[in-house]
Symmetry: C2
Subunit: 222 residues, 2 copies
């Protein structure tokens, strides 16, 4: 499957929240659910998509927007799932805002899609500050990054609607206390669903996919 | 040992390069070497300092500035080495510029120090765009992040003067090709020294400390 490389520019930041709400409204009218996936570089956003998309593609029509400062390696990889994929180049920007997301969605086309997944720039700081217009924000934290990250990057965990703890297969190599991590996340965002997974082995991916499938249906039916 | 928490604000960005050069000149006059340490969140900046400082503290008088958006966990940890430590809160900013670094150095005091280590905000994107006034930039990439990071975050590897590949002890858990990684880094930054280390076990830390000790002496003698 082919994909496009789109050069996008930063929108008007001051109007971002209004743009984001307008975009969500438009997605709603088209019955499309936008999921914004954020994490540090190397936490496993792309490999999580590789596990997620095949499990959902029978029930849902899926599109993916891969945002990167440079390169198109992720778009090439994700295109192998058969999903409709475009690459967004942010031109050095460390995040996406609602206008950049809207431009990407126009290029991708979403009138015939149930689920669009936006893989944001790998960054645990800046993307948290900009509402992209997504219906839900998913944050991935991988075990090797450490269980203290909610203390250091609180905004990212505060804006998350769902949290994936990736690389559980490597847990034996690291001093990662999942209970302590969950406590720290819930102190910032009480009751947020947390799914420990391994995007390498597929362990734990099924419950996460069930959650996402349900979210898309609720959005479309409401 | 006690440490201070300083609230700093973003300086005038347009003049950043000039500010950075002026700061380097001032450091030079005082015989102080400033090392700017950058990486993704969770790559092991703090644990690398915990291995590095005790090995150098007999020969060098060392100060540390811990920059974080929030929290003071890193400063508390590093203070245990006996180094003079201050915590810089960036007030939500995702990077440090030269003026913020200058304010931090004034608070720390560096007239009596040989080496000041700045632990920048955990972010593989934004800090690469701002010259802090450091004499050298060290970048840490950890094995679990993957060997493709130079392709996705080229600026960070282009501004690096030295590169540490951390968490080598966990290499067996991950598909990380060190040779391929080195090739990708050297394509961006030919000849840059690269030290594979484990901040957990101390493996490989000695050659990195030798390199840093030599850099400080050259700066002071030149």
């Amino acid at each position: 499957m082919e994909f496009k490389v789109i050069e996008i520019k930063q929108g008007v930041l001051s109007a971002n929240d209004r743009d984001a709400d307008a975009l969500r409204q438009k997605l709603k009218e088209n019955g499309a659910f936008l999921l914004n996936v954020m994490s540090s570089p190397g936490s496993g956003k792309t490999s999580t998509l590789l596990q997620t998309i095949p499990r959902l593609s029978e029930a849902l029509r899926i599109g993916v927007m891969e945002a990167d400062i440079d390169s198109d390696v992720d778009a090439r990889t994700v295109a192998s799932t058969g999903a409709r994929v475009i690459q967004l180049h942010t031109g050095g920007m460390c995040h996406l805002d609602a206008e950049m997301t809207r431009q990407g969605l126009e290029e991708l086309g979403y009138g015939d899609l149930d689920l669009v997944i936006l893989e944001n720039v790998g960054n645990l700081v800046c993307p948290a500050e900009f509402d992209t217009g997504a219906v839900k924000n998913a944050v991935i934290l991988s075990v090797p990054e450490g269980d203290d990250k909610p203390l250091k990057y609180p905004l990212m965990f505060t804006v998350a609607d769902v949290l994936l703890v990736n690389k559980m297969d490597a847990a034996a190599c690291f001093d990662f206390d999942l209970d302590r991590f969950v406590q720290r996340v819930h102190a910032l965002r009480p009751g947020i669903p947390i799914f420990p997974i391994s995007a390498k082995t597929g362990e734990g991916v099924e419950p996460w996919c069930d959650w996402l499938r349900q979210q898309v249906r609720q959005w479309q039916d409401a």
